[in-house]
């Protein structure tokens, strides 16, 4: 008789973290499906999710702790035991902190619902320098949201099922996909919701849209200013909502006077009448409209203001905290439940300030990951000499890999903790293999939303190799660093029991569905009883936070840099079956797309003598590479596009080794180019020359 079991857990093939059910036979994971108890999933899973089995049973991933045995990045390693590797790290850290203090340690995390562990670990080491990857992702959007509502990006939950009109700005929901969101949007469209899609490229999402607006890259802000202009001029806004909840309407009104649809047509290439029609259609559907504020919006120098203008549009249409609009996320407290206990509660607060707290010329907020390179290079305001990189591939994510490596050379210790061979891992001094998501349990997380829940990733199978789960790695490290009293845990159950203490919820309560809902129905604030966390308690079109930090609430529009013949703006994104730089070597996903191609506009290609399928040479600032051209009318003439994450240089990953091109490698000199207000990386300020090879 086979020994079989079903385990509810959480996927980790991408960072969406869909709830899953894993079927295990004789200790082997045989089948993964979307958690049948989660509406919008009910079994559904994407290609990456299913390919988790190929990842699990692949040999081309780190199998034991490795200590560098040659130059950084030389690929020379020695195999180590956990004790040896952790002692090595602890000894180095002690040397570094003796000289430079505990604040000279930093940790870069990806982010997500389980970061209480890493944040508490840094607190236990008495360092303020915890950072996440958000500058390369949603930071501009997050900051834009904060300055208007006092809530962050992930606090504004899109109520897809009840909406009537969806507007997406390059938010390619059907390829850069979240399974639950895909189904919610498809359901809404089946019920008659309209989809407007705006992008410089016709994606799969464009091919499902009711209206597709091909926009000149870098001009979204112009479009939005014109939409605001029409909505205010024609009094298409939700007057009651705006009068009650908004500050700064008059200032906005005078600001947008010059930004007419006719003006925007010249900037964006979208006909003025189309802009007027869109504004009127949105008004007809208000307040059940969703203009997506942006997910990965680390793109241009004005992405912060572009995103902010999207949220202003939502506010004008009254779609805040209403069904079919943007609902403010609720946590345990909103459901009258006790929140999880933080692992850091009993650890003394860190007195030192994070290194970019007072950095000159800094953008809003602190903990900007791009600033890690500034501090490593300049040692201002103080030296950072040891860096932990957890679940995040800095070098594959940020621009200009060579510039990054040069900066990282100033570190005395670089430790990478990952399930993959990442570019950063390959450049590290110590590489610690974390157990895969099927092999590990994580601390319990809170999923905020209209219906908050506690979620649990639970180990389904034993580790195949000499790896450890994150909770154990950080616990052991804390103990070796003399901070063991703050990490007294011997098992994940110890941690779970501590987190749940006083909540009235027990570990067994997760058995039935894998999560514990904290509310039966969506929690909505009353329409007259809204609470915004801004200084004024209102939606601040004129933002006190911005003004206090000497930033404008309304930034005048500036045209993007013009491209010349044969030179294109390099854009990048995802397809439905690869994510970041982590899936290209997966047996099955590699089979679907072994290398990327370069989308190029057909008229531009014709002028350059490039035919579909030709090999072209692309170059920027002395770096060049070859790639196959995909000649199409469905991309704006100013832009070229490639799927992100290719160009693997680690020989251990044989299937993807040297296949395709890495967009970041062309972003030379861009490491410190950011949106000056939001702080997000300006990835798309990259221009490349294309010619026939």
């Amino acid at each position: 008789m086979e020994d079989t079991k079903s385990v509810y857990s959480i996927c980790s093939m991408c960072t969406v973290r869909c709830a899953i059910k894993v079927e295990v036979e004789d200790g082997v994971a045989k089948w993964i499906e979307g958690n049948p108890h989660v509406p919008g999933l009910e079994g559904s899973l994407c290609a990456k999710g299913s390919a988790g089995l190929a990842f699990q049973y692949d040999t081309e991933r780190p199998q034991y702790p490795m200590i560098r045995d040659g130059e950084r990045g030389s690929g020379k390693w020695r195999m180590a035991t956990w004790d040896e590797a952790l002692d090595y790290i602890a000894d180095k850290l002690k040397e570094i902190t003796d000289k430079h203090g505990s604040k000279s340690i930093a940790l870069v995390d990806r982010g997500g619902p389980f970061t209480d562990l890493t944040k508490s670990f840094m607190k236990a080491l008495n360092s303020p320098n915890y950072l996440d990857h958000d500058d390369t992702c949603g930071k501009n959007t997050n900051m834009a949201c904060q300055t208007l509502f006092g809530y962050g990006r992930t606090d504004m939950i899109y109520d897809w099922p009840n909406t009537k009109h969806i507007v997406l700005y390059g938010r390619n929901v059907f390829e850069s996909l979240m399974v639950k969101e895909v189904n919610s949007i498809l359901d809404a469209m089946e019920k008659g919701a309209k989809l407007t899609y705006i992008d410089c490229r016709a994606t799969v999402t464009a091919s499902k849209a009711d209206r597709f607006l091909m926009i000149k890259p870098g001009t979204d802000y112009a479009l939005n200013l014109a939409l605001i202009n029409v909505i205010l001029n024609e009094r298409l806004y939700n007057v009651d909502f705006v009068n009650k909840w908004v500050t700064g309407l008059t200032e906005l009104q005078s600001f947008v006077i010059p930004y007419t649809p006719e003006w925007a047509e010249k900037e964006t290439g979208i006909p003025a009448q189309e802009i007027i029609n869109l504004a009127r259609d949105l008004s007809d559907a208000k307040p059940k409209v969703i203009l997506h504020g942006g997910w990965m919006l680390a793109r241009y120098f004005d992405s912060f203001y572009s995103s902010r203008s999207i949220y202003i549009l939502n506010t004008l249409l009254g779609s805040i905290e209403t069904k079919g609009g943007l609902i403010i996320a609720k946590g345990a407290k909103d459901a009258s439940k006790k929140p999880l206990n933080s692992l850091g509660t009993n650890i003394p607060d860190v007195k030192d300030k994070i290194f970019d707290a007072d950095m000159p010329g800094k953008s809003l907020g602190t903990g900007h990951v791009v600033n890690i390179y500034k501090v490593i290079k300049t040692e201002e305001p103080y030296p950072v000499r040891a860096l932990f990189v957890y679940r995040y591939d800095l070098i594959a994510s940020l621009p200009d890999p060579e510039a990054q490596k040069k900066a990282l050379d100033n570190l005395d210790l670089l430790v990478s903790i990952d399930v993959n061979y990442s570019k950063t891992g390959w450049y590290s001094d110590v590489l610690l293999p974390e157990s895969t998501y099927l092999e590990r349990s994580n601390i319990i997380g809170t999923q905020t939303g209209p219906k908050p829940a506690f979620i649990m990733r639970r180990q389904a199978i034993l580790p195949r190799y000499d790896s450890k789960p994150a909770w154990e790695i950080f616990t052991l490290l804390a103990q070796k660093m003399g901070a063991g009293q703050y990490f007294p845990y011997k098992s994940i159950e110890d941690i779970w029991n501590y987190q749940l203490d006083g909540t009235g919820i027990k570990i067994e309560d997760f058995n039935a569905k894998g999560f514990v809902s904290l509310a039966k129905e969506a929690i909505l604030m009353g329409r007259n009883d809204l609470k915004f966390k801004t200084p004024s308690g209102k939606v601040e079109f004129v933002s006190q936070t911005l003004e206090k930090n000497k930033f404008l609430s309304f930034k005048p529009y500036e045209s993007p840099k013009k491209t010349e013949k044969g030179i294109f703006r390099l854009t990048f994104g995802r397809c439905g079956y690869h994510t970041h730089a982590t899936t290209q070597n997966n047996l099955y996903l590699n089979e679907l797309m072994p290398e990327n191609v370069l989308w190029i506009n057909e008229d531009e290609a014709k002028d350059l003598g490039i035919k579909n399928g030709d090999i072209v040479e692309v170059s920027s600032n002395g770096y060049s590479g070859k790639i196959k051209a995909y000649v199409t009318p469905f991309i704006h003439p100013d832009a070229v596009f490639m799927v992100h994450g290719f160009g693997n240089e680690i020989p251990m990953k044989t299937r993807s080794y040297k296949k395709g091109l890495n967009d970041n490698a062309f972003q030379i000199g861009q490491l410190e180019l950011v949106d000056p207000v939001g702080g997000g990386t300006a990835f798309l300020e990259c221009f490349i020359t294309v010619k026939k090879a």
Binding site: M189, V204, F212
Partner: protein
């Protein structure tokens, strides 16, 4: 034709190729062969919007399967109880007659065994009252496991909705 059918709702298909991977992982299909395939068509402009379709092609499990008639060793068989067409691996000699015979290119060559393999609607799952892997986990719930009779009804209903939605009178 088998008594079953996999109906694909084009409106809900996002061309994510998950069905192919759900199938490959369940059936342990090696690199190369694919039991079902998504074939992208387009994009092309239809009026003012780009349109792209992703055509799902599994085995159709024909009533009179060319592959079964062509098979000299009786490896390719049709299940009596429900019409599922499958390969009895122990009988297959790798002659590839079925590959030539099938009008849709469904039978697949397994380079590791030198035999033919193909979509059998995940019959071991069907026998347990489950649905094929591709349908069970379809990302956008585009694929539906229905009877042949239901498939025609679904198609008619969808057509009717389209007419009503666009106000076109026929």
């Amino acid at each position: 034709m088998s008594i079953y059918y996999i109906y694909q709702d084009q409106k809900r298909c996002i061309g994510c190729y998950a069905c192919e991977i759900h199938c490959k992982t369940w059936n342990s299909v090696p690199l190369g062969p694919r039991f079902c395939r998504i074939i992208p068509v387009g994009p092309k402009m239809i009026g003012s919007v780009p349109r792209q379709q992703f055509i799902f092609i599994p085995c159709f499990h024909c009533e009179k399967p060319w592959c079964v008639s062509a098979c000299p060793t009786n490896a390719m068989q049709k299940r009596t109880k429900d019409g599922i067409v499958f390969v009895e691996q122990s009988h297959c000699v790798g002659c590839k007659s079925c590959i030539t015979a099938c009008p849709w290119g469904v039978p697949q060559w397994n380079p590791e065994t030198g035999k033919v393999i193909k979509c059998d609607y995940c019959k071991s799952r069907i026998d347990q009252g489950l649905k094929p892997a591709c349908v069970t986990k379809c990302t956008g719930k585009s694929l539906r496991w229905v009877s042949a009779a239901e498939a025609s009804l679904l198609k008619r209903e969808k057509f009717a909705r389209e007419i009503a939605k666009f106000g076109v009178m026929y």
